[in-house]
Amino acid sequence: MNKQKIVILGGGTGGTMTANRLRRRFDEDEAEIHVVDRDNRHVYQPGLLFVPFGLAQTEQIVRPRRRQLRHGIVFHEQEIESVGLDEEVVRLGDGTTLPYDVLVVATGVRLQPEETEGLTGPGWLENVFTFYNVEGAAALQGALERFDGGRLLVNLVDMPIKCPVAPIEFVFLADWYLRERGIRDRTELVLSTPLDGCFTKPIASKHLTYLLEEKRIGLEVEFAAGSVDGNAGILRSYDGRELAFDLLVTVPLHGGAEYVERSPGLGDALGFVPTDPHTLQTAVKPNVFALGDATDVPTSKAGSVTHFEGDVLADNIARFLHGDELESRFDGHANCFIETGFHKALLIDFNYDLEPVPGHYPTAVGLPLLKESRLNHLGKLAFQWAYWHALLPGRELPGIGATMPLAGKRIPAGVAAGRIGATT
């Protein structure tokens, strides 16, 4: 094999893990590996949920990107101007170009609060916040400390969003936080969503709705947020409904990275890259691959998905470079802890074909699925260590395979099981 040039766009979860896996797989005289990112701050994104409640500090969840990359990987701290698909080059912010033999798009998503009328207008970072980035989560921590009761409204503007369970976790933790502070009685806590339930998957949605009711958290469904009036404290839907708030915590619209829009043919209307859901090769060019939040594959945008994708992706890049046929091995596997407050959490595990069901993970002896437990909460906390020390370096996590395990799951009658079991 001639010396190949692999360029990875994005030094987050997917990019870092892929670079490290490929570095281990190829000698330095077989492949050069480049990673490009606009800054040197790698954020442990699951930690953002805890920051507003003082359960984590921002400096604990941010580390240098460069330090997460193995020796022999070239890191470019540069803006990406655009990708030239025909010339097979990446144009960087300083005017230089980086040619590639294989390109990996791993630049995740971009928050677009400015796309919702009034959201970044009066009240932004005063009584209107998001916890989906470090600055927002830190600012919200201060606002929650000052909050003295009233109406706390949590809203997700529209799908797709990263970690679709996070808004639900936020209201569960807010309920706990407000009780600890003794002001829960004086607070009306409401979650509003454009979906027809609190979550996208029916069985999990039912379990979570029950928990919302138990915690006296209001749920406003099919609410498509159209505009925000921060001065008046009102969130309006496109169909004319109004929700009042004293404090609004929003999950803004998500789109792909800006350079995707500047690169003809690379992304769809929202800036996501059309990607084969099973091989992770893009529909754009055979030598362009993608993983993580940047793709359009129909599963959750979540770190666990990126992790499972990474396993298949590294194999397929090696196959591609050797001229072998790609493996259609990725099954949409996602796995999420859902914090429910009071040191408990739920766990859900699912893929393209099977929605979250009860049982245990990964086998009949394991963490309980769709059921609150302290063990799941400890699992969520322990995961941060595994993230930096096993997942990013590209090591296998014992007992956690890329494909979804069926052992331990109790599949209720009538649940569509599709092609589950076809891949093991």
Binding site: P164, L195, T200, K201, D239, L270, P298, T299, S300
Partner: protein, 100 residues
């Protein structure tokens, strides 16, 4: 007047997109509270249907707003409650898979 049985799912989405006709679209619209399909309605319905037939998935409200030429606000005026769902139903294509 002839009555033809058209197969739908429990929520009224056509099982076979090939069964669709423009007359059927008008009928589905009427039953769902849209007495008359205007040119703007048709623009959206046809865009949805073409996109589904060529790619196998129906666009979301956001991509409709960006690509169909009809802004999101107007989509909600044309198809109250759920524009993507209703336009898909009228266009004779399956219920949008929604989001994950």
């Amino acid at each position: 007047m002839t009555t033809i049985a058209i197969e739908t799912d429990a929520e009224g989405f056509l099982t076979h997109p090939d069964d669709w006709t423009r007359e059927l679209a008008e009928e589905i619209a009427f039953e769902n509270g849209i007495p008359l399909l205007t040119r703007r309605h048709w623009l959206v319905v046809e865009f949805m249907r073409e996109r589904y037939l060529s790619t196998g998935t129906a666009p979301t409200i956001r991509s409709l707003g960006k690509e169909s030429g009809v802004p999101v606000k107007e989509l909600y005026e044309l198809f109250p409650k759920g524009p993507a769902k209703l336009a898909a139903k009228i266009g004779g294509i399956p219920k949008p898979r929604g989001c994950i």
